[in-house]
Subunit: 297 residues, 2 copies
């Protein structure tokens, strides 16, 4: 059987997410938002990117609903996930954390708008994620807010960032796995779970989403680390080799390049296995899992 | 008729809120939270303060429910409000914004934990507010998340902060009112409205809460500005006269001291009027409105 063709799927889904994010710009910056704040929030939100989390959320909603029409809740969840992801990039780039000048090939938020506004644009993006997600009559929205907040919070993304900058970081695979399960994995797992919840899936589908999200989240991070070693700045849209230079703690540094690649491939196989009950032998979710490690940027 | 005695009410309600915040420490920092992050979040959350927003939320829930037993939703809403208020203080104190060394008589979060962790502790507090608020079976929780996010977001608290640091700030009363209705007023209005929603109040009560919250929010800010002119550092727990020194834009600077005090008194009268249908001629809400301008710290 021919493998599911991801490229047209990704292109159309990414375009759909871009359109949704732009259409939601009014809700993102409600009436009364100071124009400069609105500009700073939109700058980072609409700076491109792979839109992996919203695409996954929508793909899971479609898979459990067995329909290709979007439901309003899944769309809001997809946008909220990208708001949260974007806020985390804006704050991570700040001088007191990574002090990065480039993101997605463009100057970082604080380079354009200054540190005070970048801090507040990040705060605004995080907060408006919950406005978008919570506003609407559907009872499932409360549960989605809880999912998103738990994933983004102290035992999720924020906690993972703290582990990443901790002075007493342990140079072990166990620590690295814990770090990334929190820092990037939690939000990817949430994207999958939120898609199932928004699409009205059952508990078995929720478990599939959790397993898939965990595997893809780790595979994605390993691929990121590997790309940093093997790619050029042009492909990445940020300086290549920055991890090694900063003495950052990566999968290739702990496992070596080949073992890292092998681990990523095993995780992808696990993810494909997890979604077989939802989409059969091959489909967009399995293809997305492969994409997470095969991408070049 | 003797005025409602606020002091014992405030003392008992503040103590109740302290107890609730401490009891929620487990949920604030879910299993898996890095200990240092948990410590930084607790440091600012449990650093004292007037707990005005949670007390108002609970007082409104009690007023509309005509009962003194707390409901779980109102308690979670009260805690979530204080998380959000605390996060805003932690971020406002950061070097790139106000660069303050003292808060509530103690070193600010970044003075104790460093700037990276203070930034992330603020992010964590904001996010966990929604975990606490959204986790539970009651359908009203989704609506409460929307209220809180709108109040804290780009057209609310974050937007107000942006207006406050804007270079093209206008030295007019209209600008000052808009700024404070967003920066501090939005969250105080939300505290009142969330109390009504959590307590199961009707639309008339929601309108009362909105009018009351708007008036008390402004009165509170005017009193803050007046206190900065007239108080000592010891009473305030932070350097007095800091506003004037920093050339900050305040009600006394725009209106003069006496006119500022008069405006605050008129707002308190408006707030008392708004809650008369809920608690009769005098009660905790009217007393809280008076307290917002009569306090000395």
């Amino acid at each position: 059987m021919a493998a599911f063709e991801l490229e047209p799927f990704m292109r159309s889904h990414q375009a759909r997410v871009e359109e949704l994010l732009r259409a939601r710009a009014d809700r993102l910056v409600p009436a009364g938002t100071p124009p400069r704040l609105a500009e700073a929030m939109r700058y980072s939100l609409l700076a491109g990117g792979k839109r992996l989390r919203p695409v996954m959320c929508i793909a899971f909603a479609d898979a459990v609903a067995k329909a290709s029409t979007l439901n309003e809740v899944a769309v809001d969840a997809a946008c909220a996930l990208e708001y949260v992801h974007t806020y985390s990039l804006v704050h991570d780039d700040l001088p007191c954390l990574d002090n990065d000048d480039l993101r997605r090939g463009k100057p970082t938020n604080h380079k354009v708008y200054g540190e005070p506004l970048a801090l507040l644009a990040g705060d605004g993006l995080l907060t408006e994620a919950f406005t978008v997600l919570a506003s609407g009559p559907e009872p499932v929205r409360g549960m989605l807010c809880a999912e998103l907040a738990r994933a983004a919070g102290a035992a999720g993304m924020v906690g993972g960032q703290v582990l990443d900058i901790a002075k007493d970081r342990e140079a072990t695979l166990a620590y690295l796995l814990r770090l990334h399960r929190m820092k990037t994995g939690a939000l990817i797992r949430a994207a999958c779970r939120m898609g199932v919840l928004a699409g009205g899936g059952d508990l078995a589908a929720l478990v599939s989403a959790e397993t898939y999200g965990d595997a893809v989240g780790l595979a994605f991070q390993i691929a990121d680390d590997v790309l940093d070693v093997t790619s050029s700045a042009e492909q990445l849209g940020k300086p290549a080799g920055a991890d090694a230079e900063a003495g950052r703690f990566t999968f290739p540094a702990v496992l070596g390049l080949e073992a890292s690649r092998r681990m990523a491939r095993e995780l992808v196989a696990k993810a494909e296995e997890a979604v077989r009950p939802l989409e059969g032998d091959d489909g967009p979710l399995a293809a997305l899992a492969r994409y997470s490690v095969e991408r070049t940027s």
